[in-house]
Structures are given as structure tokens and as C-alpha cells.
């Protein structure tokens, strides 16, 4: 008897789960767009604030009258930093919510898994993932990314090291989609500058890197690129220090951060280490708005990029006078680049577009101009050096 009741209740709640949204959805016709960011899992420290800023942009535009006289509704799903969960969430966004654009996918594996669903269903996808392979997918234009790809990142880092006088560069990189490619690109940069280069790929879950460090030092480098994540870079920097390495070290700012300095606990280990990161558009009005929306004094590049995604998608809809994914695809470059009135937010942009003006958006993450494959053309980088446990700005270029 007891079991029967249990089954019936289970069945009822299942039916309710399926039926509820369609009942509640029948009112109004807002334009739907979605964020698919990692709210839990490895990317869980970035996704929540990304979703928050996207929501703030949508609220702002709604308060100013929306797009094409319609309100915008933002749906936020969690990709759990996992491709399987990401695909299920994306299917819900595409098939149930019928969103016209998804913004903010973070992990490369999630983006690669979600991208086919988007282009097959003509949903526009804006991503912050860096793996080079993503824009090489047959996405038919339904994908753009604001994160500089590996080629751009490593070339700039290499140029920076060369400008510091490095002749023998060694690259230490964990196994990841960008690993082999990073080494090849750095090789090219070093050779072109008349220097030499060596590299190795390591496993990012090891507890010691003594053999890797030995191998690197046998090469006799005067600069080492540590292109890993935070936990493995902690171990790597300690082992480099113990081995008595005195040359230059550079790494990603997301790995060599305040937390890393704290975990290492000894300032002399990280003294003089350089960091690089795709720079947000420092000093721009757009970035000031992102600071206000996110409540952070120093928002990360991903948050700035999501701010730009939402603004560009909404302006593309206004320019197309249509809200479908295809309309966004066909018009996004008309609002992001190619000259015209300079705008840094969708409200001004939509006003100008309605008045028949051509706009050129430059946002919180940079100029936001894209090539045919969906990669950004240019982006500023920010170089810092750790001095007495504090990062000091070297230059933004």
C-alpha cells in the first residue's frame, strides 16, 4: 500500500514538472536569451558573476524600453563545467525556452559539445573559451568568441619575453587542448627572434615536478613560460626555486595570482615572476559599468566579455529588426565593427540604430572586432611583475 502511494506521488510530481513551465509560459512574448556559465564545478568561481552581469545588462536594457519594443528575458543555466551536463542544459535552453542566443560558455570541452546543437538549431553562441579548435568547427557563423585564441596569447607572450632580452625560452605546459600548439607557436616566436626554444608537456595532477624542472634546466633557459593552472604552478615555481633557477619566469595571471602567492608563502620564490593576461579595456566607460554591475573593483576578463556578448547580441537584434539566431549571426559584425558611431552599451547603440545610424561597438573586454571564423582580431594584453608579493603593472599593450 505504502509503495503504491509512493509511486503515484512520484508520477504526479513528474507530470507536474513537465507541465508546469508550459502553463506559466503562456503570458507575454519576451525575447529570450540565455547564459550557460559554470555555476558549479571547476569554473564555479567565474560563472556566477558572469550570469549576474548578464542579468544586469538585460535589466538595464529592459528599463530603457527593451529591443524592438519587446522585453528581454534572460534564462541562466548551469553547465557544471561538464560537457554532458552542458549539453543537457543547452538542449533545455534551445528546445524548451527557445532562446535565440546563448552566451558565456567557459570550458572549451563544454563549448565544443554545445556548439553543434547551436548551429544545427540556428541559435547564436558567444563563448569565452580559448581552445583554437573551437572556431575551426563548421559553425556556419553561429559562433563568436571574445577570448583571444592560443596563437594570439602565446605570440604576444613570446614577443614580450623577447623584448625583455630572452634568448633561450623554455615552455612548461600541462596537457590541455592548447598544450602542443603553445609549444609550437612559442618555438616559432623564439626562432624568428634569433633565439632557441624547448618545451615539455606535463601532467597537471602531480605533486612534484623535479624531473620536469631538471629537464627544463638542462636546456639552460634564460626565460621559462609556465602556462599551467594555479595548483600545478604552485608546485612548479617551488621546484624551480629549489633547483636554483635565476632566469625569468612568466605565467598566466589566472594561475599566478594572489592565492598562489599566499599558498607558496615565501615571497622570494615568486619575486620577479611576470604574468600576462588578456586585458580588460582599462579606463573604458564600459569597464566602469561592469565594475558597478558585478560589485567587483577588478572584474576578470570573462565577466567583461559576457557584458560585451549581451550588448552585442541585443544590438544585432535591433539592427536586424528581427530576434532570431540567424538575424544575430547576419548582423553582429554590422554592430561590432566597420566604423560608425562609437558605442559602449546596448542602450545607446539601440537608440542610434533606431535613428538609422551605423554603430561600432567597443566594450569592456576590448574593441570586439571579429574575423570570418569568429575569432577576435585584436586584444590588449596586460603584463605584471610580482614584487615583494604584490603584482606591479609593467605595461598594457
Amino acid at each position: 500500500m505504502n509503495r503504491l502511494v509512493g509511486r503515484r506521488t512520484a508520477l504526479l510530481s513528474g507530470v507536474a514538472a513537465v507541465a508546469a513551465p508550459s502553463v506559466l509560459r503562456a503570458q507575454g512574448e519576451p525575447i529570450k536569451i540565455a547564459t550557460l556559465t559554470p555555476l558549479t564545478g571547476a569554473g564555479g568561481s567565474y560563472g556566477p558573476v558572469m550570469a549576474k552581469v548578464a542579468k544586469a545588462v538585460v535589466d538595464e536594457v529592459n528599463a530603457a524600453g527593451g529591443v524592438l519594443g519587446r522585453k528581454i528575458q534572460l534564462v541562466s543555466e548551469d553547465d557544471q563545467t561538464n560537457p554532458d551536463a552542458g549539453v543537457r542544459a543547452a538542449r533545455k535552453l534551445i528546445d524548451v525556452d527557445k532562446v535565440s542566443a546563448i552566451v558565456g560558455t567557459w570550458a572549451s570541452a563544454v563549448t565544443t559539445a554545445v556548439a553543434p546543437l547551436c548551429w544545427e538549431s540556428k541559435t547564436f553562441l558567444c563563448t569565452v573559451s580559448g581552445a583554437d579548435s573551437i572556431t575551426q568547427l563548421p559553425h556556419q557563423g553561429y559562433l563568436i568568441r571574445t577570448q583571444p585564441n592560443t596563437v594570439l596569447q602565446i605570440t604576444r607572450t613570446g614577443d614580450f619575453l623577447v623584448s625583455l632580452g630572452a634568448k633561450k625560452i623554455f615552455t612548461l605546459v600541462p596537457q590541455a587542448p592548447f598544450a602542443q600548439h603553445s609549444i609550437e607557436i612559442m618555438n616559432g616566436v623564439a626562432r624568428k627572434a634569433g633565439g632557441s626554444h624547448g618545451g615539455l608537456i606535463y601532467d597537471d595532477k602531480k605533486t612534484t615536478y623535479r624531473t620536469e624542472v631538471d629537464q627544463a634546466l638542462r636546456f639552460g633557459p634564460d626565460a621559462i613560460l609556465c602556462a599551467g593552472y594555479m595548483p600545478d604552478t604552485v608546485v612548479l615555481l617551488k621546484d624551480l626555486y629549489r633547483a636554483g633557477y635565476k632566469g625569468k619566469i612568466i605565467g598566466q595571471a589566472y594561475a599566478i595570482n594572489q592565492k598562489l602567492i599566499q599558498q607558496i608563502g615565501q615571497n622570494e620564490v615568486v619575486e620577479g615572476v611576470y604574468t600576462y593576461a588578456p586585458s580588460v579595456a582599462e579606463g573604458s566607460r564600459a569597464l566602469e559599468r561592469v565594475k558597478k554591475m558585478s560589485g567587483l573593483s577588478d572584474p576578470d576578463p570573462y565577466t567583461s566579455q559576457v557584458y560585451d556578448h549581451v550588448n552585442m547580441v541585443l544590438m544585432a537584434m535591433a539592427a536586424a529588426k528581427d530576434t532570431t539566431g540567424t538575424a544575430i549571426k547576419d548582423n553582429i559584425r554590422k554592430v561590432s565593427q566597420g566604423g560608425g558611431k562609437a558605442v559602449d552599451n546596448a542602450i545607446d547603440g539601440i537608440k542610434a540604430i533606431t535613428a538609422g545610424e551605423k554603430v561600432d561597438y567597443a566594450g569592456a573586454s576590448g574593441p570586439c572586432d571579429f574575423d570570418d571564423k569568429g575569432d577576435i582580431l585584436d586584444c590588449k594584453f596586460r603584463y605584471e611583475q610580482i614584487k615583494a608579493g604584490k603584482p606591479v603593472l609593467v605595461k598594457i599593450a
Partner: protein
């Protein structure tokens, strides 16, 4: 909406296949195989590679996947004949991690952490996205029903009784003259083959696989499905897999109507809801939704 339900039903069916495979080995012989994700991955990669770089038809991939995974299962079980319970669990978990690490490092073969994209689906191009979903579900259901029929037959047969005897006490089974090792090896290989088949069906459905898909999380999901459905009962495994999928997905819609919480709180609430629901199932029905029923042995 319909398209989404079809998609969820298909993924649920793939979880169902995995659950049937796990139930055979865990419910049947009592061997804890934490390497399920590894066999799932092997099948997915075998089929994806044969049909993309190998240019073979999809059917060849579907045939090869269970063979590859089954063979790997045989190797694993023969390497671990002396291990039981926790020790077997540790080794199989290690096996799954090895598969994942090989997949992320042998770039020449597997494209590393980029994964393999553009895996062909049957008639995907001609059917278009929506009809492809509708066509894939029946294919999957046919496979699911066939596998269900197979494992249920095993469950009811004298062979299944031997497996259960091994689960209860391997020594007694041995004394009764049963070749325990042979039974264990066969069951383990069959279970691995079913997981491999599930992997192949998954890859050709979503068109993309990557090492990140085969984290131990998926194994945990399937253990949850089998535990809540009823360990030792094939019908329970299926019910459990669909229950898990229903929970995972319906929680999304419930939390959307909770006002005044941020996106991240909503995500956390979603996980909480799923956990509470599973705890309730196991608290109220400790033997699962469809408890195991052991048929009486016929009189000789």
C-alpha cells in the same frame, strides 16, 4: 518541448543501458566495478574513431564498440582475479582514470582534450535536427529492449542463479562445483560490453566526445540509478536510470520558479533537490523502487 523530451528520453536510455550493465555485475555477482566510465569511454572512442578516421559505416562502430569494451573488461577481470570488494573497486576506478588519461594524452589517436567532434549520426544530414532526435530514440529503444531481454533472461536462468550464488558466497559456489572465475569473467566482460555499446550510442547521438565526459561522475550517477532502482533487478536498473534523469532535468524547472534567488543559488538548490530526492527514495524504499525478486529454483 517535444524535441527536448525526446533528447532526454534518449540520454535516459543510454544511462539505462549503463545501469543494466552495472546491475549485471554489481547486482549479479556483487563485484563493485567503479570503472564503468572507462568502458563507456572505450566504446565511445572505438566507435567514434572507426567511423571518423576509419571511415567505416556507423553499424561497424556499434558492433566494434562492445567487442573492444568487452575485451578490455576481460583483461581487467583476469588481472584482478584475487581482488574483491573495495580492492576491486579501487583497481577498476584506476582503470577508468587510465582510459581517460590515455584519451587526453595520445593526441595522434584521440585528438586529446579537444575531443572528437563531427561524429556521424545515422541519417543525421538528411533528417535534420528534429527528425534525427525522433529517429534515434526508437533505435536506442530497440537496443535497450534487446539488452534488457538478455540480462533478464540471464537473471532468471540457472546461469543467473550461479551468479547470485557467487555474490552471496563465492566459496560455497566453488564447493558446489561451479567454475567461479569463469562465471565472473564472463559476467564482467558482458557488463563491460554493454557499457561500451552505450558509449557508442552516446557518441553517435551527440556527435561529440571528449575525455571530460568520462569523469568518475558518470559512474556515480549510474550507481545511484541502480541503487535507487533496486540492486539486482534489471527492471529496477532501468527505472532507476530514468528516475535519475527525470530528477536531474525536472529540478531545473522547479528552481526556475523560486523567486529572489541568484543564478548560483538556484544551481545549488537544484543539486540539493536532486540529493534530497535520492535520499528520500533510499530512506523510504531501502531496497529500491523495484526490489530484487529471487525466483525459486525449479525442482529437479
Amino acid at each position: 518541448m517535444l524535441n527536448y523530451l525526446l533528447f532526454i528520453a534518449t540520454i535516459g536510455g543510454i544511462y539505462g543501458l549503463l545501469a543494466l550493465g552495472l546491475n549485471l555485475i554489481w547486482g549479479g555477482t556483487g563485484m563493485v566495478n567503479l570503472g564503468l566510465a572507462g568502458f563507456f569511454a572505450l566504446g565511445a572512442y572505438a566507435s567514434a574513431l572507426l567511423t571518423t578516421t576509419g571511415h567505416l559505416p556507423i553499424l561497424a562502430g556499434w558492433v566494434a564498440a562492445p567487442i573492444v569494451a568487452g575485451a578490455a573488461g576481460l583483461v581487467v577481470v583476469l588481472c584482478t582475479t584475487r581482488l574483491r570488494e573495495d580492492y576491486l573497486a579501487i583497481v577498476t576506478l584506476g582503470f577508468a582514470e587510465v582510459v581517460r588519461l590515455v584519451a587526453s594524452n595520445e593526441i595522434w589517436l584521440t585528438h586529446g582534450t579537444d575531443g572528437i567532434s563531427g561524429i556521424p549520426g545515422p541519417w543525421r544530414a538528411t533528417l535534420g535536427r528534429e527528425w534525427f532526435n525522433a529517429a534515434y530514440l526508437p533505435i536506442l529503444l530497440v537496443v535497450l529492449v534487446a539488452v534488457f531481454w538478455l540480462v533478464r533472461r540471464i537473471d532468471r536462468s540457472p546461469y543467473g542463479r550461479v551468479l547470485r550464488a557467487i555474490r552471496e558466497d563465492a566459496q560455497v559456489a566453488q564447493v558446489a562445483g561451479k567454475a567461479v572465475l569463469r562465471y565472473k569473467a564472463q559476467a564482467f566482460a558482458l557488463s563491460a560490453a554493454i557499457a561500451g555499446l552505450a558509449g557508442a550510442l552516446y557518441g553517435h547521438f551527440t556527435s561529440y566526445i571528449a575525455p571530460d565526459l568520462f569523469l568518475p561522475l558518470i559512474t556515480v550517477y549510474i550507481f545511484l540509478a541502480v541503487a535507487s532502482g533496486g540492486v539486482g533487478s534489471p527492471a529496477g536498473a532501468l527505472v532507476g536510470a530514468y528516475l535519475l534523469m527525470a530528477l536531474l532535468e525536472s529540478a531545473r524547472f522547479f528552481v526556475e520558479y523560486i523567486p529572489a534567488v541568484s543564478a548560483v543559488q538556484r544551481a545549488a538548490l537544484k543539486e540539493l533537490l536532486i540529493a534530497v530526492a535520492l535520499i528520500l527514495v533510499l530512506r523510504l524504499m531501502p531496497r529500491g523502487l523495484v526490489p530484487e525478486r529471487i525466483p525459486r529454483a525449479p525442482r529437479a
